[in-house]
Amino acid sequence: MEGQAMTYADENQHPPSGPAGSPWSRPEPQWYGYDAPGHDWYGQATWDEPAPQARPHQDDLTALRSAYRLLRRISTLTALGSFVVYVVLSCSAPGLMGAKIAGELSLGMALGVLQLVVTFAAVHWYGRSARRSVDPLARVIRERTAPAGGNAGAVR
């Protein structure tokens, strides 16, 4: 349908190494989005030909993809990272995490409960950021594909 023949500049980067040996240092799966050698298998023919609106469409898609990727990375890494730090600290520094900070309440317990409480805020933040960064871009693409010939090129 659309200008499927395009390859993106960011795809031709060097592939990363394999997944790390331990689950918590596992790189984000979307990093593999860069992976795989560049393909020019459609040849140049399709480059000359595509309709003028295919190009901005690809740009919109690229913008949406990066917006999503950024949002995903920040949110996922923060959530997973804080938890991994918490668990590793619990195991490797029981003295620190067992330190009493208020009455019988230890630091480890307080951090655990705090993570649960912060979750509400994190979910709220994610919803707001997604509404701001991702949804407008997605709407443009949807509007373009649904009625033929919509001229929504305003995003970039």
């Binding site: 989005g33 996922t76 997605a138």
Partner: protein, 538 residues
């Protein structure tokens, strides 16, 4: 242990009957028409975000979460707190990472998501096999637990016959819910269940805190005393031990829970029934809020059980502490036989019962849907079957899955099969999670990579679990007297999760080298469907 008058038992039984009648009625009324596939699998995407969110939370908080996690908090303190946090976080991760593209890519089942860029029967079969491998153990562990739980609640004599009858009754109800209700019917049951569960847990938590004059310090002091562990109750290590290997095991288990639980097919299936991306986001917000609240309540309930019941009584009733919530409600109600005790105990027992029913029904539905949609409609009939036929097959596979689960549960009811929960979560984290993340975010993912991830991850998790210390070699293992614990940890995730990701990556590299044409075709399909994946544009 359960010294209750027949009055309490009568009221519990009445409540059970009322709950079953009510939910069955709702299931039939909300259930799909005979040949309406979309309605059966997704309920027309007609639920509001709040309702869908509650249904996701209901599916997510299984009986295992309610009972086992509370038990682990009561018996192991800090380790249980970490487990509660990781359980909540897993759903958060699903929301942040997978929920939205998954909703856009999927139609009815996990197979639809995976086969979107790589059509073919092998992919469908693999998706179905992994769905079964992840849901059946979970199903069996809960059904076989239902036997001992119901005999405890109803104070039946602890003989095999009584437990078998309980398992068969719960199993039959579960089949009826799944087969008659479909996604929409079970969604309503999940909603009723999560509302009742949250309400009852909140009341019990308030009663616990009230007992200690709303002072967390007092509660924690009493819990340390009641657990018999002293200060160790508030430090990591009571659940699995404190040696280096055991601590590593603990870390591995928690990470596996975070990565795996929310990816299980019966949870992700609910995402496909959201209307659009903003709706799935709002649904997930509600679900995460609900689950997080519940996890906070679990922490209070478990600590309260340790403080007020004491670990000696808890382990006497069940070594894994799965009855601790029930025992807590007995203690909190006041004098045995009083109206307060009767009401509180009946309420908690009723909630546990409905939680058990709804979670096994949800899993049966997920397994049956995959069998009908992936295996029958797409692998056997190559997508040419009539909706009406597929619907009939879905109903009958629900019956089939249910009967198999009942049979297995009866067989293993005398074993300590808690390890099956770990197995399901490990398969979720090492086969389902890598397959979904690669398929959604990596355009270079190929068919060989997908099959390697699904089969390799699942096989690795299963193999390691069989030779783990949870199956043999320790007193709490499934076979305490046997000794084939070649893998020195309790959970497989530490090895199998990286293995699953690595297998997918290596398999795809292999395709890039050996079958460049095929991998290019996969890549083209990915790029073609990217607008749909990211923006829901058709």
């Amino acid at each position: 242990m359960n010294d209750f008058s027949s009055g309490t038992q009568a009221s519990v039984l009445m409540l059970f009957t009322a709950l079953v009648t009510l939910t069955l009625l709702m299931c039939v009324m909300a259930g799909p028409d005979r040949d309406d596939l979309t309605n059966f699998y997704t309920g027309y995407r007609s639920l509001t975000p709040l309702k869908n969110g509650l249904a996701i939370a209901g599916d997510y908080i299984s009986a295992a979460t309610v009972l086992s996690t509370t038990g682990i908090v009561a018996l192991a303190g800090y380790d249980g707190y970490v487990l509660a946090v990781s359980t909540a976080l897993s759903l958060v991760l699903l929301m942040f990472l997978l929920a939205e593209p998954l909703r856009n890519a999927g139609r009815f089942t996990m197979g639809d998501v995976l086969a979107r860029t790589m059509p073919g029967r092998a992919v469908r079969v693999a998706a179905c096999v992994v769905t079964l491998a992840a849901t059946l153990p979970f199903l069996v562990v809960q059904l076989s637990g239902a036997g001992s739980l119901l005999t405890f609640i109803l104070n039946l004599p602890h003989v095999a016959g009584a437990r078998t009858v309980c398992i068969v009754i719960v199993g039959s109800l579960m089949i009826i819910y799944a087969a008659l209700g479909g996604m929409r019917g079970t969604a309503f049951i999940q909603m009723i269940k999560i509302v009742l569960l949250l309400g009852t847990s909140a009341v019990v938590a308030v009663l616990v805190l009230n007992r200690f004059d709303w002072s967390p310090g007092e509660l924690l002091r009493a819990a340390q005393h009641g657990s018999g562990a002293g200060p160790a109750f508030l430090q990591q290590g009571l659940q699995l031990g404190t040696s280096a290997a055991e601590r590593l095991d603990f870390i591995g288990l928690q990470i596996t829970v975070v990565l795996g639980v929310a990816c299980l097919p019966h949870i992700t299936m609910r995402l496909y029934s959201a209307q659009d991306v903003p709706a799935v986001r709002r649904s997930m917000s509600w679900a995460v809020g609900t689950v997080t609240t519940f996890c906070l309540l679990v922490i209070i309930l478990g600590t309260g059980a340790a403080a007020l019941v004491g670990s000696r009584y808890i382990t006497a009733a069940d070594p894994q502490g799965r009855t601790s919530v029930l025992m807590l409600s007995q203690v909190l109600g006041g004098a045995p036989g009083s109206a307060g005790t009767t009401i509180l105990y009946s309420a908690v027992a009723g909630v546990v019962f409905i939680t058990l029913l709804s979670s096994v029904a949800g899993m049966t539905l997920a397994a049956a849907s995959s069998l009908a949609h992936d295996l029958f409609a797409h692998a056997v009939r190559r997508g040419l079957s009539k909706p009406r036929t597929e619907m009939t097959v879905a109903v009958w596979t629900s019956v089939g899955v249910g009967i198999v689960a009942i049979g297995l549960s009866v067989l293993v009811q005398n074993w300590n099969v808690g390890v099956l929960t770990t197995l399901a979560i490990c398969i979720g984290a090492s086969a389902v999670a890598p397959a979904l993340t690669y398929s959604l975010f990596w355009r270079g993912f190929t068919r060989t990579g997908l099959l390697a991830t699904l089969y390799g991850g699942a096989a690795c998790a299963m193999l390691l679990m069989v030779f783990s210390r949870a199956v043999s070699g320790t007193p709490t293992a499934v076979f305490p007297n046997a000794d084939f614990d070649l893998y020195p940890l309790q959970s497989a995730g530490l090895v199998s999760v990286p293995f699953g990701y690595l297998a997918g990556w290596l398999g795809s590299r292999l395709d890039h080298r050996r079958r460049a044409a095929v991998s290019r075709e996969n890549r083209r399909l990915y790029e073609e469907s990217e607008a749909r994946l990211l923006a829901a544009a058709e």
